[in-house]
């Protein structure tokens, strides 16, 4: 297949991929209805333990 054609197709695939990715995030953001008190803007000085997930196992 022509290289330019392959590249054009791949770019179209990439654009669709990112579009789908964005749509899924938006759908998730608006469909989840979980109440969570907003954490202080900065953890340092907040007096609260961090609650985020981390690959180290938390």
């Amino acid at each position: 297949m022509n290289t330019n054609l392959r590249l054009r197709r791949f770019r179209r695939f990439t654009a669709l991929f990112w579009l789908g990715f964005t749509v899924l995030i938006l759908l998730d953001a608006f469909s989840s209805r979980v109440y969570r008190p907003e954490p202080p803007p900065i953890a340092l000085g907040s007096g609260q333990a961090p609650g985020g997930g981390h690959c180290s196992g938390r």
């Binding site: 899924l24 989840s32 979980v34 954490p39 900065i42 953890a43 333990a49 985020g52 997930g53 180290s56």
Partner: protein, 365 residues
């Protein structure tokens, strides 16, 4: 300023604003930091994979030294903070398990085939590298499965975590800096032969160290990547009807709660979103990019390796960011074990890479 740059900045601001609106100011700030990570990684072409490969193939340690500089600077900034604010800030500390040893080795090998580690895959995918765009979905799938199996891997046993901070931050920092200096000394003769240290490596290391410290201050934990990536997979499968209740990882606290929450509440996810866009914006800052499409065989191999990359990252308590950078800058011994094992894995990965059709320079221009 060209209209293209204004649009790129507007896109970044829109992303930060949207995340802030949906999840609060902390998440917005983390998105902003993610933008910085992506822009620096792409702008400085700061790659862990490339740095190691350059050393293994050409005995050029410039990239390796840049990583050591990053580790030294970030440790100097983060260890005193972690020690003095132990309730609010938590380091990346993990046990020295069999899964860590095997997982890091596999990760090191896989990252040479995917041409990107955790951060590398994300920033290159954001910048539009076809190889990394193909790797990203399998990386997500692998991280999801790896997390799900992580409890079983950890149950195979090992040693408990070794947190050097318990001996005080001055000693922990001295040991960490000594470790970095030792690796640098071992490669000193090659560094001399390789010529002057490119500025981009130094600038990248300094900026990434600053961003890593800021991330700790804002999030209360070190910068991480693969937790969020695995969460995306779990979210996708849950949307397709999978019930996580019986899963040994995703079905238990605190992961089950995070799975139920909107994805923008997750610390690592919003940083990753910022990273992806930051890399995109940085790659387009000077105009359109030229992209070469690798062969179908190469893409297929990379996609398969992406699955291993994601899976092994969860066996090893993280990737080059969460385990190597996060672990070492938290004075956790598992970070050094990860470094050694992933480097050994990369030695195998580089050899495997040579056997596959990888025209030099054709991966991403």
């Amino acid at each position: 300023m060209p209209i293209r740059r204004l649009l790129l900045i507007a896109g970044a601001l829109a992303l930060v604003f949207a995340v802030t609106l949906l999840a609060g100011l902390r998440q917005g700030l983390l998105t902003l930091l993610g933008l910085g990570f992506g822009a620096v990684l792409q702008g400085c072409r700061f790659g862990f994979t490339t740095g190691w490969r350059e050393y293994l193939e050409r005995r050029n340690p410039h990239g390796l030294w840049a990583q050591l500089l990053l580790l030294a600077l970030a440790s100097s900034l983060m260890l005193p903070l972690l020690a003095q604010h132990s309730g609010e800030l938590v380091g990346a500390v993990a046990p020295l398990t069999f899964s860590l040893v095997l997982g890091a080795f596999l990760f090191g090998a896989a990252m040479q085939l995917t041409d990107g580690c955790g951060s590398g895959t994300l920033y290159k995918a954001g910048a539009g590298s076809p190889l990394s765009v193909v790797v990203l979905p399998t990386f997500v799938l692998g991280s999801f499965l790896g997390a799900s199996h992580q409890p079983a891997w950890v149950a195979l046993g090992g040693l408990p975590p070794v947190d050097l901070l318990r001996y005080g931050w001055p000693l922990a920092l001295a040991l960490t800096l000594s470790g970095c200096a030792l690796v640098a000394l071992l490669t000193l003769p090659q560094a001399r032969a390789a010529g002057p240290w490119p500025r981009r490596w130094v600038i990248g290391a300094v900026l990434l160290a600053l961003l890593a410290a800021l991330h700790l201050i804002v999030a209360g934990q070190p910068w991480g990547i693969v937790y969020g990536v695995g969460l995306w997979g779990a979210k996708a499968f849950a949307a397709l009807g999978w019930n996580p209740a019986a899963d040994p990882f995703w079905g238990v606290a605190p992961h089950a709660a995070r799975l139920a929450e909107p994805i923008v509440y997750d610390v690592t996810s919003v940083t990753n979103f910022g990273l992806l866009y930051g890399a995109y914006a940085a790659s387009r800052w000077h105009g359109p990019v030229t992209t070469n499409l690798p062969s179908a065989r190469r893409l297929l191999v990379a996609a398969a390796a992406g699955l291993v990359l994601g899976y092994s990252s969860r066996m090893a308590f993280g990737c080059n960011v969460g385990a190597l950078l996060g672990g070492i800058t938290s004075a956790s011994l598992h970070g050094w074990v990860w470094f050694a094992m992933a480097f050994l894995g990369s030695m195998v990965g580089v050899r495997l890479r040579r056997r596959i059709d990888v025209p030099q320079g054709a991966v991403f221009a």
